[in-house]
Symmetry: C2
Subunit: 255 residues, 2 copies
């Protein structure tokens, strides 16, 4: 695809995500309709679905030949097939429900499995992180990021993987200054972009990591399964986002 | 002590903490002098010590007969003896060092072991939480807080206690919507005050919980050891801050 159309799609994505953020803030104090998905602590709200429907409709109007892979309602196009938008309408739904804070809207765009556009909005801070895989911006500022050494860093972790030492995560964490659990992949990714955490280990679905992987790529970060193999953009998988330059250190612990 | 003097001390405490916050923000991008205390991940900076010295000096000038219990440099007066100020100059020092965010200044005042004044400043949001044990304010707004049911809540936890199920904490967490780890007792306490987390379980020193216990008391929260006995305001102890009205539920898990 030519760069011009890619720029158009990037601007479209930024606008769609910002509008979703405004919509969510305007409904922030509504009484939510909350539905349990797999179990009592796996929740979805009417607003997750409303945001997804809004953005899916906009994509369909503007780019009718493109495909969609999204969190709600089983919208699951194969990432390797053509032009695919990957959407998480509210990432951190539990934070959204309980805290009305610390949640994100995430949208990514892939062509035949190759990441081209990533956008994450930290809704309550109004900070929009966006990029094309070569450069990443926070609002109008181009970001730079050099990962700290592990021993001077904090790590974002999934609670289950941390406490069960999945893949050696607890062992790795002992080489750091500590772990943080923020409850939203999007908020963890932007914490890495802001230099506040060094890396992130979790058990995620494609819409949780599709945008973050693109936004961190310019800084030498890799987003893979724990053993280094590629994520499949299909089911949930244990994953990590870490500085590639520190992989030899990481590999002493993470298998 | 008469109420008038207590009000004077409350205003003094608010002003001292706000000035400390301004000082820290004005030095936010300084190169820090970082010293290891007990081990590589137990750190103190020159700014922790500078803030402590500033506030201790002010207390000494203004209330020369009062005593001090503070984090740095072994300033450890017995809480049960007379008028005692309890100070944590930077709570969340690791967050301060790594993130330059998510840290607090905390100051409390006790008379013969009874909490009279609590002040917590979330430095980077500029939100000042303060109260006298009967009422708690966030800046100029009087707070109200009704704890959610555990099953609709998030819990702030210490990473070690969570992963080792200390006192039954992991078991309790399974009855909630999940756990969060923020890396600062002060930031956890104000998250409870803001309704974002339901309770907090950690392994803390007196300066970590002295102010928070006072600020949460008006809302029926108790701050105790895990078995319900009183904290000793001396060494580190495993503690919890939870809604007293839900203790029968909590006691099914926490021993």
């Amino acid at each position: 695809m030519n760069d011009n159309l890619l720029n158009i799609k990037l601007e479209f994505a930024k606008t769609a995500v910002k509008m979703a953020g405004e919509f969510l803030k305007s409904h922030l104090h509504d009484e939510l309709e909350i539905t349990e998905k797999s179990r009592f602590d796996d929740l979805v709200t009417n607003l997750d679905k409303a945001v997804q429907n809004q953005i899916v409709s906009k994509i369909g109007e503007r780019f009718p030949k493109d495909f969609i892979l999204a969190e709600e309602d089983g919208v699951r196009h194969d990432i390797s097939d053509g032009n695919v938008w990957v959407l998480d309408p509210i990432d951190g739904t539990t934070n959204f429900i309980v805290q009305r804070d610390h949640f994100a809207v995430m949208l990514a765009y892939y062509e035949n499995g190759v990441g081209k556009i990533g956008v994450i909005l930290d809704v309550m801070t109004d900070n929009l992180y966006w990029g094309n895989g070569a450069e990443t911006f926070k609002n109008e500022i181009k970001l730079s990021l050099v990962a700290r050494p592990l021993r001077q860093s904090l790590i974002g972790v999934n609670s289950y993987m941390y406490r069960t030492n999945a893949g050696g995560l607890l062992d790795l964490s002992r080489e750091s200054l500590g772990v943080r659990m923020l409850g939203s992949a999007g908020i963890e990714f932007v914490a890495i972009l802001d230099g506040k955490i060094w890396g992130y280990f979790s058990n995620l679905s494609p819409w949780d990591y599709a945008a973050g992987a693109i936004l961190l790529a310019p800084f030498g970060y890799v987003t893979t399964q724990l053993d280094g193999s590629a994520l499949d953009f299909d089911g949930r998988q244990m994953m990590m986002t870490v500085p590639e330059g520190q992989l030899s250190e990481i590999r002493k612990f993470i298998k």
